[in-house]
Amino acid sequence: MDERVDERVRVMVVDDHPMWRDAVERDLAAAGFEVVAVAADGHQALARFPAARPQVVVLDLQIPGPSGVEVTAQVLQQDPAARVLILSASGEQADVLGAVKAGATGYLVKSASREELLDAVRRVAAGDTVFTPGLAGLVLGEFRRIAEGPADDPVDQLTERETEVLKMVAKGMSYKQIAERLVLSHRTVQNHVQNTLRKLQMNNRVQLTRWAIEHGLDDDDE
């Protein structure tokens, strides 16, 4: 397999564990990615992000300073074209869901192999989403929770197809297997998965805005 990328993808690695940071940096560099910055905590990450302008931020969730979830939100606010790939050791469910709601488009546990990591960075850079079965289960649960909420909430629900695809991801099937079983193209399966994340992020924004209005935080500029 040709591991070199045509146009070198600019990556930033944020991890407070030096051994991990170095290992990930080395693997990425060896595979032809350009590691433009590393950071050991949230403060460093936010300080270095504007100058380094990475396309992909490989982010550990449990970091000192502003948490991984906050870093995700702030980084994407500065540069909506950037992509965030969460690489977490413990995969604490609330944090993972929080990061995905804040706009992260990929999630991987640290026990993933080197190839899985490189593939994930490549796919996230290309605009794809990288799901684990665990994350798919969380997202399904979140949509069900939203569905049971107040009926007047202007939220996007998943279509039947999207739920079906997400369930299959949660059952450990690859996009390729799902495409075969549902007789869909690989691209269509990917679009369905992407849509679920997009809706989740939209709903999160709607909820945040509602919350802000209810608490009178929208009067700031008056």
């Binding site: 564990h17 290992a23 640290k110 192999s113 079965p133 798919a136 289960g137 069900r144 929770r145």
Partner: protein, 322 residues
Amino acid sequence: MTGWSGVAIWAYGAPRRRTPVLLGLDLALAIGSLLLTPVVKGADFNATVPGFWVMGALLAWAVHWHVRGGLVAAMAISVADLGIRDHIEQANYGNVFLLMIGGPIVGYMCGSLQRMATERDLAERAAAAAEERARLARAVHDGVLQVLSLMQRRGAEAGGAWAELGQVAGEQERSLRSLIRQQAGVTAEASDREQDLAGALEALGTASATRVEVSTPGHPVLLPGPVVSELVAAAGACLDNVGRHAGPDARAWVLLEELESSVVVTVRDDGPGIPAGRLEAAQHEGRLGVAESIRGRLAALGGEARLDTGSWGTEWELEAPR
């Protein structure tokens, strides 16, 4: 008496001044004024000089020394009150009775209030300590998981004995991660009657010989205890089957979904699937078989077990009403 009332109000105002000396003085003055009554009012008085003023000292004793204080003060005052009278009427007995019953009861209530406050403080401290321990544990776990993951990765790349070490690290990493999730389900909400199905399935995944990945909604799914144990037993039977028929390299996934009126546990493996006719053949031979026992468990819960199998593997869907 008016003067002492002022002094007493000031003196009892601060906890450090509430000494046995003050309390003793208070009671002594109350009894002293009682004893003065015959001198001041003559032997055949009706009401004592202090009257109900003695209650002040009695209540102070009850509050400070609880039941015993209330009882001692009540007895002392009663004895003094009865001792100075030359004839005792029914009303005097009534007053003594009220003193004797009021002192200990006020004392008892103060005691239990104080005990409850102490217990509440202890519980609050325990909760705060548990929270802090959980926070510290998160940091420790994260560090350990990092190292285990790293060992797994580097070990696999180095090969040989290192690969074995990496594999062991990987197993530990998975079970620690699962334990952390199970811990998240341990809440005050779970009671004897209700258990968390999500945590129970995580535990099942850790215990299984097959490599299992468990997906849950991310929050405790509380169901009656018997329902949880039956569902876990059925899912466990599915996983045992995976180990038996799909080989040691097969992987399995468990998905828990919380629907409006039911819960669905899906167990999928990537094995070769169950050959057509094998289940029927087993039934024909009179063997009930694992499939029937799984179906039976779900039917007993008022739910349903669905089996789907093909070249892509085997999938059990266990649905039980909530």
